[in-house]
């Protein structure tokens, strides 16, 4: 029962935290631009407004179900990662699988969203999916190398085990024990968060906002909440993988906040790659970084 409560609270908390972080990031970006920016609660208002629009359209079954896929996929990732180490009630479902399961279940939501975009019939949506998948297949390369290097180095695939192995002080964090793999993973984190210079999926200037082009009203609000959840889940995953996890709630919030600001800041100062440039960059730079640690682990 406690587990169920924990799961519900985790979902709600992650949603709020994700939306709040989104609002903060909009403000931060505005300040970098020299603007005032919206309220930090702006994302909540937007969500509410979208949720309460009185009409909406859909283009078919997959279009209809895509937000469900998206939210389900995001929550699955969220629940597979233990939140606060030592507090076993916050481990949620993480006993059911290891890091490989998390890597693959991340695609669940992506595929769902891609299917919805495809079903919408809008060419831009599909172009964006094509770009997104191409890019995803590229950054997953370096990310999976980094994960394998860390997991093999620590001799466990269980995320819990990976976090526990980092509890011996700040220098035992994987970012210091596996600096190259971490660098690779952190570069892969940028396209994961659709940050510039890798923001080719949503590219508002050429394929107006990509996959959710046709999504309106309540569908869009589901999409946004899915994105917020997924973003939070990825943050927690990265914190667990590289930054020693969290031993209490404060450190979880602080670490995820700081990690969230990294793509926001990078994103604000970079222009965008072309698709093939992005793919090639991701093939070579982060991959070769991550490979260094993989070779180290192998030897």
């Amino acid at each position: 029962m406690g587990n169920i409560v924990s799961i519900v609270l985790t979902i709600l908390g992650a949603l709020s935290w994700g939306l709040l972080l989104g609002g903060i990031s909009r403000t931060v970006t505005a300040r970098i631009h020299g603007r005032m920016g919206p309220r930090v609660t702006q994302n909540f208002i937007d969500m509410w407004k979208l949720f309460k629009k009185t009409s909406s359209i859909h283009h078919g079954g997959m279009f209809w179900m895509a937000p469900m896929f998206r939210i389900t996929g995001a929550i699955c990732v969220l629940l597979m990662v233990p939140l606060v180490i030592g507090n076993s009630i916050t481990y949620n479902m993480s006993f059911a699988g290891d890091i490989f399961l998390v890597i693959y279940i991340m695609f669940f939501g992506c595929l769902g969203m891609a299917l919805g975009a495809g079903n919408s019939g809008h060419p831009y949506a599909v172009i964006a999916v094509s770009r997104g998948l191409a890019q995803m297949s590229s950054y997953e390369l370096s990310f999976s190398i980094a994960v394998v290097a860390i997991a093999v180095g620590l001799k466990t695939f269980r995320i819990e085990g990976i976090v526990e192995a980092q509890q011996a002080g700040i220098l035992s964090w994987n970012i210091f024990r596996f600096p190259f793999a971490s660098a690779g993973a952190l570069i892969a984190f940028l396209p994961m968060q659709m940050a510039y210079p890798f923001g080719i999926v949503l590219a508002p200037q050429e394929i107006p906002i990509g996959p959710p082009t046709e999504y309106s009203s309540r569908f869009l609000s589901f999409m946004f909440s899915g994105r917020a959840l997924f973003g939070t889940a990825k943050l927690i995953l990265f914190v667990s993988l590289l930054f020693g996890g969290a031993s209490n709630w404060i450190s979880l919030l602080v670490k995820t906040f700081l990690l969230y600001m990294y793509p926001v800041v990078v994103s604000s100062v970079f222009p965008r790659f072309r698709t093939e440039q992005s793919i090639r960059f991701l093939w070579f730079v982060p991959t070769s970084l991550a490979l260094v640690d993989l070779i180290r682990v192998m030897l």
Binding site: M68, L79, M93, A114, L115, P123, A134, I145, V148, F157
Partner: protein, 972 residues
């Protein structure tokens, strides 16, 4: 009395015919038929008397003496048991071709009967000079028949035959003179008595004569020109009577020649086989192709003469020569493809059986002879064995090209060719007969794979895979022809395959399965190319398998070269690493549900083969497991990228199939329990999802008539169930939890990490991510996006295609949510084999390895629970969106002009392709066309020998003679 009748009735008929007035063709036909039928009966009686039908001992004989003296002044014939079988064929061929001669050249009846007489005489002759007489009669009649036929190049063909026969006369008589001078005798047995310098002279003269007459390389040229130039009827009769007689006569003489070590025949034959078949690759006219095939069998005769003796020699030669002659007879009787004969249905089968016979496909008779013969070669003459294998493979290539070029010219009119029908029936009867006799050599005890659990898995897979393809066989489109029979045969052979107890049985079932599928593929639309590639690669893997099995003496406990050969055979069958070309060409061309069978079920035979090799080896591992795993990994990656860029639904699935098979290889290469668990798991999983996908593709093709992405899209509205099943399969093969695909990847990665094969792991993981590219492309290109107006009439796929898909989708769900059902069965089975590594621990729904955990049931519950919750939330929140069509999109205030213009499908992953552009473009196609070009060049080089100038052929014979002289003198 019977003996005499059997031989001389045709002669009598010829004389009567010659004296009959020319204006009564009917009477002469009656006479001919009477004489021939009576003769045929006599020969059959003789053969029964001599016990020829058991094919065990063919050397029994009776002597037929004529006249008062002894040979050479009179004619004495020794009627052997084997010879009577050939005589039956000759008689039958003459009878069945008579009506066609009667149609075209009614006056040629005496010639035909004379040809038969000469053939029979030569077949049974015991004397050198008698043989000379028959040889001359045969040549003269052949030239006469050619000159009498109605085709453009007859004079040229005749003059070349005449030139060669003139030279042969001279050389032969010289040999006769020397022999007589040396021994004072002219019987064939006298050849053994000659010694010293005379022996060399006699040997080289007669060998040259024989090689020229049987048209073995390099003295083939005149035969090629003759077969090409003469009419197909003459060529058919010629090959079934005179050519057969010459071959068997040569078989009789060759062992008697005073040549020292007969291995020289085998060398000439083996080299000739390779070179002539190289040149054969370039042949295009049917006559010439048959000529090259004749040359191949003549070379085989030489090899047999050089390497075997006694009853085995007789048996091999009789079966090989008789049945190749029948095959050529029926092919010639079917006419020239240049004349654009059209046929369909039974006609194509008529054409196919002889081709398969010539290529030595089981259970046709030549297969048995070739198998025994090659086994003999493998045991003692490895180099010759390899050369013969290579030559036979080349022969198969051009024969299948001939067939596939032919099968394209199908039409409405069915040819009525009783002669060919009779020949094909004869071949089929003979194959039943010979198979029955060889039945004892087969072994269905399953002793190749000792583990009954593994065997049962594969039995079940093959049976289920075949059964699920069967309901949809009648949902064919347009020009596709009925293929269910071949699907059934192929599936049945596969289903029995795991029970094979020895190499012969395994190879037999393997080839039956492969070539039944080849025939099935030929029933598709525009299938000629697909058929050709499939046939060629099936032959390649078949011959590699054969080589491996024979080199290890029929057992699967092997190492070294045989194991490598067999592994390569399996890789070719799986389409790995460059050989994917055949998959990519075959699957799109195959009709209806056949691609599902090929990709889902048939390719698993290769997995079975690898398993068989591994479980019989000492350490339960494949040779060079690491290399195999790398091949698997690279193929998985390359196949995935190619699949993402493929422009056609079925082509994409073919690439994807190759890619997914790569994972099985990675698992098998590991040789640990985890790896094998992953491999077998993925084998089952691949069968399930690939069949579902291909059945879905069959449905789409059936309803829309196309599989090109450019013409598809938006079908989800029209075919929702097909889409749903395809979606489940796609999610599964993209290895997204909670469906079945994740399990195989998880087990595989655990296995790879356990063994420390991290680079392989990385490539494999990368490939699995690239799989997302094509999985989305597949769903979008066919089902999502805009519905093209071309497909507005499409509707849901028919039930026979849908129900199997539904079952498979259910299997995916079950396997995904409760993989422990399978693992609980599989892991104990694999633990007994003796693999290295630790087995995964299964606790309830939890699967544990040393490093990872996986609870599929909990994951499944979580995903389904969340999904269900979201679903309910949708409903109760009162959200009622309005459904609008795909064209109602925000399109800058405009209305999309047409669905086709807003459907993004062409060059879908263009940016990816651009990003890949730094790679040199290594197309497997280019490599293979390079190979093709090389072979063509070699073939051109070889066939430059055959200039077409008759005198060149004479020069070839003389040079051959001189070389023999130098060689044998040097040797002595």
């Amino acid at each position: 009395m019977v003996k005499a009748l059997a031989i001389f009735l045709p002669l009598l008929g010829a004389f009567i015919n010659a004296w009959l007035p020319g204006k009564s063709p009917k009477a002469s036909r009656v006479v001919s038929y009477l004489m021939l039928t009576a003769g045929l009966i006599a020969v059959i009686m003789l053969s029964i008397q001599l016990g020829a039908w058991n094919l065990r001992d063919l050397s029994d004989s009776v002597i037929l003496s004529t006249g008062v003296g002894s040979p050479p002044l009179s004619i004495n014939l020794e009627i052997t048991a084997g010879g009577t079988l050939a005589a039956i064929v000759m008689y039958a061929a003459t009878i069945f071709s008579l009506h066609r001669f009667a149609l075209t050249t009614p006056k040629s009846q005496p010639l035909i009967l004379a040809l038969l007489t000469a053939s029979l005489g030569l077949l049974f002759a015991t004397d050198i000079f008698n043989s000379f007489v028959f040889l001359e009669i045969g040549s003269i009649v052949t030239i006469g028949l050619t000159a009498a036929c109605k085709c453009g190049s007859r004079w040229e063909a005749a003059i070349k035959a005449a030139l060669v026969s003139g030279l042969v006369t001279i050389l032969y008589l010289l040999a006769v003179a020397v022999l007589y001078r040396s021994t004072g005798m002219l019987t064939l047995a006298a050849l053994g008595n000659v010694s010293g310098a005379s022996a060399v002279i006699v040997a080289i003269l007669l060998l040259t004569v024989i090689v020229t007459e049987i048209k073995a390389f390099p003295l083939t040229g005149w035969g090629l020109d003759f077969y090409q130039g003469t009419s197909s009827i003459v060529a058919g009769l010629y090959s079934a009577t005179w050519s057969l007689a010459v071959l068997l006569w040569a078989a009789k003489v060759l062992p008697l020649l005073p040549i020292g070590n007969p291995i020289i025949y085998a060398w000439i034959g083996a080299a000739g086989l390779v070179f002539s078949q190289l040149a054969g690759l370039r042949a295009s006219s049917s006559g010439r192709i048959m000529g090259y095939s004749t040359s191949a069998y003549a070379s085989l005769l030489l090899v047999a003469a050089g390497t075997t003796t006694g009853a085995f020699y007789t048996q091999t030669v009789i079966v090989l020569m008789i049945f190749s002659s029948i095959a050529k007879f029926s092919l010639f009787m079917l006419g020239n493809p240049e004349k654009k004969d059209q046929w369909s249905g039974f006609g194509t089968l008529l054409f196919l059986v002889p081709i398969l016979l010539l290529a030595g496909i089981p259970p046709l008779p030549i297969f048995w002879a070739k198998f025994a013969f090659l086994a003999h070669l493998a045991s003692g003459f490895p180099v010759i064995f390899y050369a013969v294998l290579a030559g036979l493979l080349l022969e198969a290539v051009y024969l299948f090209r001939f067939w596939s070029a032919r099968s394209e010219k199908t039409g409405e009119k069915s040819a009525k060719r009783p002669s060919a029908v009779a020949a094909v029936l004869l071949m089929l009867l003979a194959s039943v007969w010979i198979t029955r006799m060889s039945w004892g050599a087969l072994d269905f005890s399953g002793s190749i794979i000792e583990s009954a659990g593994l065997r049962n898995i594969f039995h079940g897979l093959f049976a289920i895979g075949t059964l699920l393809c069967l309901p949809g066989v009648f949902n064919r489109i347009g020009r596709e022809k009925s293929y269910w029979f071949w699907l059934l045969i192929s599936g049945a052979a596969l289903t029995i395959l795991p029970a094979a107890g020895n190499g012969l049985t395994f190879y037999l079932l393997w080839e039956i399965s492969a070539f039944a599928a080849v025939i099935g593929v030929s029933k598709g639309t525009a299938a000629s190319k697909g058929t050709f590639w499939y046939a060629v690669f099936a032959s390649l893997s078949g011959y590699l398998l054969l080589g491996g099995i024979l080199l290890s003496k029929g057992s699967f406990a092997m190492a070294g070269v045989p194991a490598v050969l067999i592994t390569i055979a399996a890789l070719v069958k799986m389409g790995q690493f460059g050989t994917h070309l055949w998959n990519v060409r075959t699957y799109p061309a195959a009709p209806g549900t056949l691609p599902a069978f090929l990709s889902g079920t048939s390719s698993k035979a290769a997995v079975l083969l690898l398993v068989a090799v591994a479980v019989n080896s000492s350490s339960a591992s494949l040779p060079w497991g690491r290399v195999i795993a790398w091949i698997g990994a690279l193929t998985a990656l390359g196949g995935a990228i190619l699949a993402a860029l493929a422009p056609d639904y079925k082509k994409m699935l073919a690439h994807a199939s190759v890619s997914q098979l790569g994972y099985i290889l990675m698992g098998l290469g590991l040789a640990s329990i985890l790896g094998w668990t992953a491999a077998i798991y993925h084998t089952i999983h691949h069968l399930i999802f690939k069949m579902a996908l291909f059945l879905g593709a069959a449905g789409v093709l059936y309803r829309t008539g196309t599989t090109e992405f450019n013409n598809l899209g938006g079908l989800v509205k029209k075919m929702p169930w097909t889409f749903a099943f395809t979606l489940i399969s796609v999610i599964s093969f993209a290895s997204i939890p909670p469906l079945a695909g994740f399990g195989s990847k998880w087990l595989l990665y655990n296995g790879l990490i356990e063994q420390g094969w991290l680079p392989v792991l990385i490539v494999g993981m990368f490939a699995s991510v690239v799989a997302f590219l094509y999985s989305f492309r597949l769903l979008h290109g066919v089902f999502l996006g805009q519905l093209s107006p071309k497909n507005a009439h499409a509707k849901e796929a028919p039930l026979p295609l849908l129900i199997p898909q539904a079952l498979l989708a259910m299997a995916i769900m079950v396997l995904g949510f409760k993989p422990t059902i399978l693992l609980n069965f599989l892991v104990p089975v694999l633990e007994k084999i003796g693999l290295s590594g630790l087995a995964p621990v299964i606790q309830g729904d939890m699967v544990l390895t040393t490093m990872g955990t996986w609870n599929a049931w909990m994951v499944g519950l979580m995903v389904m629970g969340l999904f269900g919750f979201a679903f309910v939330f949708y409903w109760i929140s009162g959200h009622k969106p309005k459904y609008v069509g795909q064209l109602d999109i925000g399109f800058a205030g405009e209305m999309p002009p047409s669905a086709d213009e807003v459907h993004y499908s062409n060059n879908f992953f263009r940016p990816y392709q651009r990003a890949l552009s730094f790679l040199p473009k290594i197309h497997a196609q280019k490599i293979f066309s390079g190979v093709n070009k090389t072979f063509n060049m070699l073939g051109d080089g070889v066939r430059a020998l055959f200039t077409g100038d008759g005198r060149t052929y004479l020069a070839h014979s003389l040079i051959f003679l001189l070389l023999l002289f130098v060689f044998l003198n040097g040797g002595m």
